[in-house]
């Protein structure tokens, strides 16, 4: 297991590195003068030249990459153009909000999706199974921002059940959770569908296996068989998928933060794009991408650990 963990972690690091290289190379490959685009049409040539030097855009690509890596490793992601603070600080301030949103989204999708998938597998072919299937496909199809806006419209604006703006009062957990409900539901709903489908398929596969038949032959209750024997196996591929789902939810979080006017990394990036705060944009992209790679790594390692066959033979 240790060997696998090291290998997998090493791979994650390499992929992150390559991704960052791609990010920087984009600046060079894409035609046009980044300074012009980023500073807008009103900037004078002197300003652009100054910008280029400051951002290091006039150096050869390789040097840029090396410099960038050097800085990333020491935690320096550049300086926020607007506030003159380190980008890392700006991003780090907003990160907890986004993390809370994503975490809650995962809670929703697991809490709703896993039981739904289990139920559908046990009652395969029933009306509820078919309805659940249709529902799963539908929530996967519809984009999360549409769900976000419609739920804002229905539950906030029209019915007034939930607040429309913000993350709630600082320090007041209940209020913050209250503000989390709609946005996290919008973020997580699509994955309710995904999880339900995967859990259903995994469960059906496991329930057909010989050892389940044997457990039945020993008179174990259906509840024990479903949750202790079958689900424990079926949950393993689900964990892996959830890791990938987080990347999806990061995208969803951006929209949710904008729609519900919540603070977070998504809103930060969006505002920065609008105000041409290039270092913040790049810094935030680096952080979120790194976070995503970390999540998929964690998911793979957890899945490997959950299956004793994998855990001990690696």
């Amino acid at each position: 297991m240790l060997a696998y963990a090291l290998k997998r972690t090493g791979l994650a690091v390499i992929i992150t590195a390559v991704a960052l290289i791609m990010l920087i190379s984009m600046i060079q490959i894409i035609p046009g003068d980044p300074a012009a685009v980023l500073l807008g049409p009103l900037a004078s040539p002197t300003m652009r030249a100054h910008f280029r030097v400051e951002m290091g855009l006039d150096q050869p690509v390789v040097i840029q990459i090396a410099r960038f890596f050097g800085r990333v490793v020491t935690g320096d992601l550049g300086t926020d153009v607007l506030t003159n603070r380190p980008v890392l600080t700006t991003v780090a301030e907003q990160l907890p909000f986004t993390l809370a949103l994503i975490a809650m989204g995962i809670v929703w999708s697991a809490a709703l999706g896993v039981p739904m998938g289990c139920y559908a597998a046990i009652h395969r072919g029933s009306l509820i199974d078919r309805l659940a299937g249709l529902l799963s496909v539908s929530v996967i199809a519809v984009p999360s921002f549409v769900i976000a806006i419609y739920s804002l419209l229905i539950f906030s604006v029209a019915l007034g059940w939930f607040p429309t703006i913000g993350a709630g009062e600082n320090g007041h957990l209940g209020d913050q959770l209250y503000h989390l409900v709609l946005p996290s539901l919008a973020v997580g709903l699509g994955w309710v569908g995904y999880l339900a489908r995967i859990v259903r398929a995994s469960m059906l596969e496991v329930l057909g296996e010989n050892h389940i038949r044997m457990a039945r032959a020993f008179g174990l209750s259906e509840a024990t068989i479903t949750y202790k024997y079958a689900l424990k196996i079926a949950i393993i591929p689900t964990v892996v998928v959830l890791g990938i789902g987080i990347g999806n939810m990061i995208s969803g979080a951006v929209f949710a933060e904008i729609v519900f006017a919540r603070p977070g990394v998504g809103k930060l990036i969006y505002d920065s794009v609008v105000t041409r705060n290039y270092p913040v944009v790049m810094g935030a992209v680096v952080v979120t991408t790194g976070f995503y790679v970390l999540c998929t790594l964690a998911a793979d390692l957890t899945a490997a650990w959950l299956d004793p066959r994998v855990r001990q033979n690696l």
């Binding site: 010989n210 050892h211 039945r216 020993f218 174990l220 209750s221 004793p308």
Partner: protein, 328 residues
């Protein structure tokens, strides 16, 4: 059966099971009757597809969703399993009835430790966790797994096939059953392991005194292990009796052929192994009359029109054949 013999622990009477498939109605078991003697070992022999597994599933009440019992009864210690409620049936399983399945490689849950699985099946005994673990370790020692306490924490994939099968036997005996059903327990094992497992079963049966229903297509093993034997062909029991009767005075033509063709019996070197000509009948489109007629070398006219009922060809020796006699 002798008048003063104790009631059989399992008495199957006239059991028929059909399956609804895309090809039509498959009549997998037809009017099957057999008795498993209390405290004895009954062997059930037959080729693949003869219905042995279906019979086991019916006894356990685990027939597949597309199957149904269309007639007959399965009396376990007097109570009819066919008519039983699911709750009562579940209460029997793992308590008075237990099973050893054919394939040890897939019979155990791969993500739960052996200890967890062995203690889980003791859930209705009311014993504490420590007691259950102690019993499990004890049983592992009985089936000759070395260092049982430590091995309880291990997972199935850390055991060889032969050891896994022994674990399954240990689990089946943990239940202290009245009837142990062994569904081809040695088919997936090589010859040396087979000998070990059979000897183990003999010892344990003598020690615990449970009845055993032993299914196999390996005639030599059945001859060595069992007291009573039933022979199945294409969904019917064609002959049953003591192991002596069957192996020395087989009455039904199929049983005779089966014994003749057993590679273990061949004395002289030969190029062509004997076999029974013809093929298994299609269970969805059964012929009229005797099920074995098409491949039988002793059939008469009556065999084509009338399916033979079981009749006594010797004391305690029954065969479903028009022409069979008890004499060799």
């Amino acid at each position: 059966m002798k008048q003063d013999a104790p009631a059989p622990v399992l008495a199957v009477r006239d059991l028929s099971v059909d399956f609804r498939t895309a090809r039509g109605r498959l009549r997998a078991l037809r009017h099957v009757s057999l008795d498993v003697p209390r405290g004895g070992i009954m062997g059930l022999v037959g080729e693949s597809g003869c219905g042995k597994s279906t019979l086991i599933s019916a006894v356990l009440g685990l027939v597949a969703a597309n199957g149904e019992v269309t007639s007959g009864e399965i009396r376990f210690d007097g109570d009819d399993i066919v008519a039983m409620s699911p709750e009562r049936l579940r209460a029997l399983r793992g308590d008075r009835l237990s099973v050893v399945f054919q394939d040890p490689m897939t019979a155990l849950n791969p993500v739960l430790s052996i200890g967890t699985q062995m203690t889980a099946i003791q859930y209705r005994t009311g014993r504490s966790r420590d007691e259950r673990q102690a019993r499990a370790a004890e049983m592992l020692a009985r089936v000759k797994i070395p260092d049982p306490k430590a091995r309880l924490a291990q997972y199935p994939h850390q055991f060889s096939g032969g050891m896994r099968q022994r674990i399954c036997i240990a689990m089946a005996l943990l239940a202290e059953p009245d009837l142990l059903i062994a569904d081809e327990p040695t088919t997936a094992l090589d010859a040396t392991l087979e000998v070990q497992v059979i000897n183990l079963l003999k010892e344990l049966q003598a020690e615990f005194g449970c009845s055993v229903l032993f299914i196999s297509h390996h005639l030599g093993v059945v001859a060595e292990l069992c007291d009573q034997v039933a022979v199945m062909y294409a969904g019917e029991v064609v002959e049953r009796g003591s192991v002596r009767d069957i192996f020395h005075h087989a009455a039904h033509p199929y049983a005779r052929k089966l014994l003749e063709c057993d590679p273990g019996r061949i004395r002289t070197a030969t190029r062509n192994l004997p076999s029974i000509p013809g093929e298994l009948p299609d269970l969805a489109a059964l012929p009229q009359g005797c099920i074995f007629r098409a491949r039988c070398d002793r059939s008469v006219e009556r065999c084509a029109s009338e399916a033979p009922a079981e009749r006594e060809v010797g004391e305690g020796h029954l065969a479903a054949c028009h022409v069979a006699t008890g004499a060799g």
